[in-house]
């Protein structure tokens, strides 16, 4: 049993994924509030937009860590989400600031539904990933 870099990666990913789970929950709640008229879309977008890039960067960060640790399977599992993030950010509406959400289109039922669905899917992904990393960490610790 040794504390390797790989084990460190998993532990870090574990912590960061926990953060991402909070992001996803926040995201879901925010859109739910929008849908139920509790919040003004301008305010909501202003609170959500600053969180978009950090989330993407955190995810990209531990992807890079796994790359360095040569954890190909884990990296492979994360690649689709990474690609999705890149595509999502490339196709964002014309905006001067960082972020994805445009208050003028966010109330469109299609976009709102899409964002909500996106939130739930990500939450599920992060939760699964969390347990996978937990397993991976223990496996690495035990096997090495």
């Amino acid at each position: 049993m040794a504390f390797t870099f790989t084990a460190f990666c998993y532990m870090l990913a574990l912590l960061l994924t926990a953060t991402l789970i909070f992001f996803a929950i926040w995201h879901i709640i925010a859109f739910d509030e929008l849908k139920t008229d509790y919040k003004n879309p301008i305010d909501q977008c202003n609170t959500l937009n600053p969180l978009v890039l950090p989330e993407y960067l955190i995810h990209a960060f531990f992807c890079v860590m796994f790359l360095c640790a040569a954890e190909w399977l884990t990296l492979g599992l994360n690649m689709p989400l990474l690609a999705y993030h890149i595509w999502r950010y490339m196709s964002r509406p014309v905006m001067s600031g960082p972020g994805l959400y445009d208050p003028t289109t966010i109330m469109n039922a299609d976009i709102l539904a899409y964002c909500q669905k996106e939130g739930w899917c990500k939450l599920a992904f992060y939760l699964l990933a969390f347990f996978y990393y937990l397993y991976g960490m223990i496996y690495v610790l035990v096997s090495s």
């Binding site: 003004n40 879309p41 301008i42 014309v94 469109n108 299609d110």
Partner: protein
């Protein structure tokens, strides 16, 4: 009733000034009358009325018996009432003698009398009023406006000061007819008064009222009132007014068109009535459960009212029709024997006849209306009577209703099936039918509702749905492959609009829906929301009907009789005190702008219309100009001349002085005029070519943010300095590309953010873009799109080189400056549970799922909403949509305009197809296509449009029509669908392959998004008329002019003969195409030139020639022009002139090098379907 009433108060009605003295007199009269019950009755009624609107009435009321009544209102009304009452009472006491005078006549028209009495302090009582009232009634039938006048006077009298102001404001705003409307409604109400009465409950309520009344003043009156009640019963039967009049009135209620009423009204209404009756009977048998009461039975049941309401439940309201049926009853009540005591007996008697002879009653019933109308009080009498026999009569009525309602509601759903092939379902073989386009303009299909609801339903001009039969489930909708959505024109200029002043605006407690004609009353005290089905209480105030001044008829209030109403809102509807009208003009004065010369036109228009700007004494106005710097104008009152303040720091804009940049229009008028006179010449020698639009807008925002208001931006080029600067993105070589059209979206979000900021501060930005080159409208338009502004674009504008554009600007400005405006508005759209809003189209900011934030609202703004069906609608047969527009009028009043649309739900695909409103569907598709082309690409949008036809026609072919599948079949309701889609594909916004400038394309898209349906349809599919042979055949009369109505022609060159002259109406442009071989008579008599060769190339006016054909042509064109807000430019195009390409591009049925002809397009669609 009417006759007697009329006689007593001949001329008085108009006169009655709302004065207390007068009221006192009236009160006195009433008190005196004990024997002449009518007065007393009126009294109570009046009280109720007052509650909502005015105070004056009270006095009258108390007199009457009905202390109760007065109490009810008393709560509502403020102190002033009480004081008034006090006066009145005293008056009463003092003036007993006067009362005596009025007696018999008074009885019949109690309402009228009261009114009169108030006005003229003198005892006009008997003589004066009648004449005027009668006149009003009769006039009403013919012309609404005429009716309105008398009525208005009426209203004023009654109303306390508050009301007064409201009325006046209304008038000023240009709803002259409002009053008229009221009058109309009153009439109808009056007709039915007795009907609505719930027998038992009513009694209770009254009793309560009595007890509740604390006012000491009332009590003394009571005795009198009671006696009065009796007398009321005894009213001599009035003259039955001509039935036709009543019909008219009814119609007027339901609809807004003044012109149409007269002829159609009578027969149709009668038919309806008859049908209803029949229906009611049948229904009663079928659905015993629904109503406790047998509709057919003449005898009164204990709980008639509730039953009837239940019947309503389905959504069908026993409205005018039912009431009309019942109307006879009211008469009897009034008429009854002179002897008050016998009332019980008398009441039943009238009721009985009705059931037995269903058809007859109608004619009879109508007469009742008149009296009601004149008096408004007539109903009162009925109210008073509860204790009396009259009541029994009421009971009977209710019974009828339930039956009617049920029937009608069932009809609503079933009628389609019962008639196997409605015209709208007739299959049409599109490829075989050469003339799909009808000869007359296409009208909106009428929802398949029962006649009552049809009449009550919202005008299609304000509110249309793409499917007038709503599919029951989303699955059914998906099968039909048709778009479901609403097209709205909420702030349209209306000639008839009931305006309601009321302390409490009755709304559903859970979904906040405004009470509307389609709610159902469960009993006298409760109503069931038609959107969320919650049962709500009817507030006390609502029990009183201000129009009839009767109590206990909540379903006859104007709110429940009109699907378009306007409320004067209380302070509950304000977040801050209503803002004043504030106008800021931001003008580009760079070299380019000066060169174009728009300033002269603008300043001239402003000078001319300065006094007509909507607003009140608080109206404020300001000016800013900009080139590479920003110039402010200090117009503070007291300065000898306008002071120009220049801010050159465009990176960090600040306001040079905190105030005095926006000044009161009236205090600084001279300075403003000086400035407007000086402005056009101030910058003539400027060398500044840059335009710092962004910073100027930021400054404007800062200036406006404390108040909100309207910013009008005039821009002539690409902004080139400071924040929001733009680069040219258009590649001229790509203009006719068939592949990709880029840059339809904004290049920066600066303008969008600015618009959102403005919207948050209740400021709208209107953009006038007058440019000769590319100005990136796609980016600039954002400033108006999201702040609820409007966009005007004048390509290649030049005041001298392009006179037609200059003229257009001038006319548009006149309209723009003087049209109605609403500030700090929000619009909420609600729909029946199960439906939900999907996407909104138009200029606004969507603040929540059903709330649009509109900093300004103008009468030319249209909106579209896509709907989706979230839950199955199986448990309802009707769905309703309600838009409520809350705004601050230019007079500083908070108002709510409410439109309610009711549509049937169907469960078969055939019915869905039968109810398609193809024009609405096309407009909604166009809106969706604009979104698609911006978010995705133009070619996607075009494909989606074609797919819309392919899908819907193939769905129809495979499920509904069982005819041969080789042909391209469409239901008759959809036969124009492919033609319109083809027209859309050839529209500037979506066409490819034809050279289209990017700004033109974007502007067309902006218009599609913001134009109301009627104007949009002309843009999409212009109307073509042959005008060289106009005849009076089928002509209509408008304002004493004869307007010929030539048939519509197909938009195809095959229709253009060389021997003819054709007018094409494209909405914002008219073309007159003159054929080479056109008859010289026409050229000479209409165009004013001897022959074809001498017609000039550029001609934009028809000369005013004194010939018959010229007169016809001009009256036709004027008539077309009058129907739209922005005056179109007229181009006279000679055959073989270069300008004819402009004309020919609108012939959408023809083939062009880049697009299909109509027939080819059909084949293409057919091919796609077969794939």
């Amino acid at each position: 009733m009417s006759a007697p009433a009329g006689s007593p108060h001949p001329a008085a009605s108009a006169q009655i000034p709302p004065k207390f003295g007068g009221a006192a007199a009236s009160g006195a009269a009433a008190s005196a009358d004990p024997g002449s019950a009518p007065h007393q009755q009126n009294g109570p009624a009046q009280n109720q009325m007052q509650v909502p609107s005015g105070y004056g009435l009270h006095h009258q009321n108390y007199i009457a018996p009905s202390g109760h009544y007065s109490q009810g209102p008393g709560k509502m009304t403020s102190l002033p009432l009480d004081t008034q009452c006090g006066d009145y009472y005293s008056a009463l006491y003092t003036v007993p003698t006067q009362n005596v005078v009025t007696p018999s006549t008074a009885n019949q028209q109690p309402g009228a009398q009261q009114m009169y009495s108030r006005g003229p302090p003198a005892p006009h009582i008997v003589g004066s009023t009648p004449g005027s009232f009668q006149g009003a009634a009769s006039s009403a039938s013919h012309l609404h406006t005429s009716a309105s006048q008398p009525y208005s006077s009426f209203v004023n009298h009654y109303n306390s000061p508050a009301m007064y102001s409201a009325n006046s404001s209304v008038a000023s705003q240009g709803f002259p007819s409002t009053c008229g409307h009221y009058a109309m409604s009153t009439v109808s109400n009056a007709v039915y008064p007795s009907v609505s009465y719930p027998s038992l409950p009513a009694g209770d309520t009254y009793g309560q009222m009595f007890t509740s009344q604390n006012a000491p003043t009332v009590r003394p009156v009571k005795d009198n009132s009671f006696s009065g009640q009796n007398t009321a019963i005894s009213h001599p039967s009035p003259l039955p007014p001509p039935p036709s009049q009543q019909h008219h009135q009814q119609q007027s209620l339901s609809g807004y068109n003044t012109l149409t009423w007269s002829a159609p009204g009578l027969p149709s209404t009668q038919d309806n009535l008859i049908r209803n009756h029949m229906g009611s009977l049948a229904i009663a048998n079928n659905n015993p459960t629904v109503t406790g009461v047998d509709s057919s039975s003449t005898t009164s049941s204990a709980s008639p009212m509730p039953n009837s309401y239940d019947a309503l439940e389905g959504g069908s309201y026993p409205d005018m029709l039912s009431s009309s049926a019942s109307s006879p009853a009211p008469d009897p009540t009034h008429e009854p024997d002179p002897a008050p005591a016998p009332a019980p007996a008398s009441a039943p008697a009238p009721a009985v006849p009705q059931p037995s002879k269903m058809a007859k009653p109608f004619g009879y019933g109508y007469p009742a209306l008149q009296p009601g109308y004149q008096n408004a009080t007539a109903p009162l009498a009925s109210v008073v009577q509860p204790s009396n026999p009259v009541y029994s009569g009421f009971q009977q009525y209710p019974q009828h209703y339930p039956g009617v309602n049920q029937l009608s509601s069932s009809l609503g759903g079933l009628s389609l099936q019962s008639s196997p092939q409605p015209e709208s379902l007739r299959p049409v073989n599109l490829t075989q039918e050469r003339n799909v386009l009808p000869m007359t303009p296409v009208w909106a299909p009428v929802p398949n509702l029962n006649a009552d609801l049809k009449k009550l339903n919202c005008s299609p001009d304000s509110f249309r749905c793409t499917l007038t039969n709503i599919p029951q489930t989303q699955a059914l909708l998906n099968k039909a492959k048709l778009p479901l959505g609403l097209l709205l024109h909420p702030f349209r200029d209306l000639t008839q609009l009931p305006v309601i002043t009321s302390n409490t605006i009755v709304r559903c407690r859970s979904c906040r829906t405004y009470i509307n004609p389609f709610v159902s009353f469960i009993d006298q005290r409760r109503w069931k929301c038609n959107l969320c089905y919650r049962v709500n209480d009817v507030p006390e105030e609502f029990m009183y009907n201000p129009l009839t001044r009767s109590y206990g008829e909540p379903h006859k209030r104007p709110e429940v009789q009109n699907s378009t109403v306007e409320f004067i809102a209380s302070s509950d509807y304000m977040l801050r005190p209503p803002q004043p009208a504030v106008y800021l003009f931001v003008l580009d004065v760079s070299h380019n702008a000066v060169e174009a010369g728009y300033m002269t036109i603008l300043c001239q228009s402003l000078l001319e219309n300065l006094d007509k700007l909507p607003g009140d004494s608080r109206t404020r106005i300001g000016f800013m100009t900009f080139d590479s710097t920003i110039h402010f104008y200090n117009l503070q009152e007291g300065l000898s001349q306008p002071q120009m303040l220049i801010v050159s720091d465009i990176d960090d804009v600040f306001l040079p002085t905190p105030d005095s940049l926006l000044v009161n229009l009236y205090e600084s008028k001279e300075l403003i005029k000086d400035l407007l006179n000086a402005l056009p010449n101030m910058f003539t020698n400027t060398r500044e070519t840059h335009s710092a639009l962004g910073p100027a807008l930021q400054a404007a925002f800062k200036l406006m943010s404390p108040t909100g208001g309207r910013v009008s931006v005039f821009q002539t080029q690409l902004p080139s300095l400071g924040a929001g600067l733009l680069q040219s993105r258009e590649d001229p070589n790509q203009r006719s590309s068939t592949k990709v059209v880029q840059h339809l979206g904004p290049a920066t979000d600066f303008y969008k953010k600015l618009a959102l900021d403005c919207s948050g501060q209740q400021t709208a930005v209107d953009l006038f873009l007058l440019s000769s080159q590319y100005s990136d409208l796609a980016s600039l338009a954002c400033m108006s799109k999201y702040s609820a502004g409007c966009i005007y674009y004048y390509p290649s504008f030049h005041s001298t080189h392009n006179p037609s554009q200059a003229e257009k600007l001038q006319k548009d400005l006149k309209r723009y400056l003087t049209r109605k405006i609403g500030f700090e508005a929000v619009m909420r759209i609600r729909c029946t549970k199960g439906l939900s809003m999907h996407t909104f189209h138009g200029n606004f900011f969507v603040r929540s799922t059903d709330l649009l934030s509109l900093a300004n609202i103008n009468p030319d703004a249209g909106f579209a909403v896509q709907l989706s069906i979230e839950e199955s609608l199986t448990d309802t047969s009707l769905v309703c949509f309600q838009t409520a527009l809350l705004y601050t009028s230019s007079k500083g009043e908070r108002r709510i305009r409410v439109h309610t649309l009711c549509l049937p739900v169907v469960n078969s695909l055939a019915d869905v197809y039968a109810g398609v409103d193809v024009q609405a569907a096309i407009c909604l598709l166009a809106n969706m296509a604009v979104d698609r082309s911006i978010s995705s690409s133009l070619s996607d949008a075009r494909d989606a449009l074609v797919n819309a036809i392919v899908d819907s026609l193939s769905a129809y072919g495979s499920t509904v029509s069982n005819l041969q599948h080789s042909a391209l079949m469409a239901p008759s309701s959809l036969k124009l669908f492919p033609l319109y889609v083809l027209a859309l594909l050839k529209q500037k916004a979506f066409r490819t392959g034809t050279s289209t400038r990017l700004d033109d394309r974007v502007y067309a898209m902006c218009q599609i998004k913001s134009q109301p349906l009627v104007h949009l349809m002309k843009m999409i599919h212009p109307n073509l008329y042959r005008i060289d042979r106009l005849t009076d055949e089928g002509a209509i009369h408008v304002n004493d002019r004869i307007v010929p109505q030539p048939p519509l022609q197909k938009l195809s060159a095959e229709k253009l003969t060389r021997e003819g002259a054709f007018l094409m109406d494209c909405g914002s442009v008219f073309y007159i195409w003159v054929g080479k071989g056109c008859d010289n008579n026409f050229i000479e008599n209409v165009l004013g030139y001897p022959n074809f060769a001498s017609i000039p190339q550029k001609m934009t006016h028809l000369p005013e020639l004194d010939t018959l054909s010229s007169e016809r042509a001009r009256s036709f064109i004027t008539w077309l022009r009058d129907s739209r807000p922005l005056s179109p430019v007229l181009h006279i195009v000679k055959d073989e002139s270069p300008a004819k390409a402009e004309f020919f591009q609108h012939l959408i049925e023809d083939r062009t090098e880049a697009a299909f002809s109509y027939y080819e397009f059909l084949l293409h669609v057919q091919q796609q379907i077969c794939k």
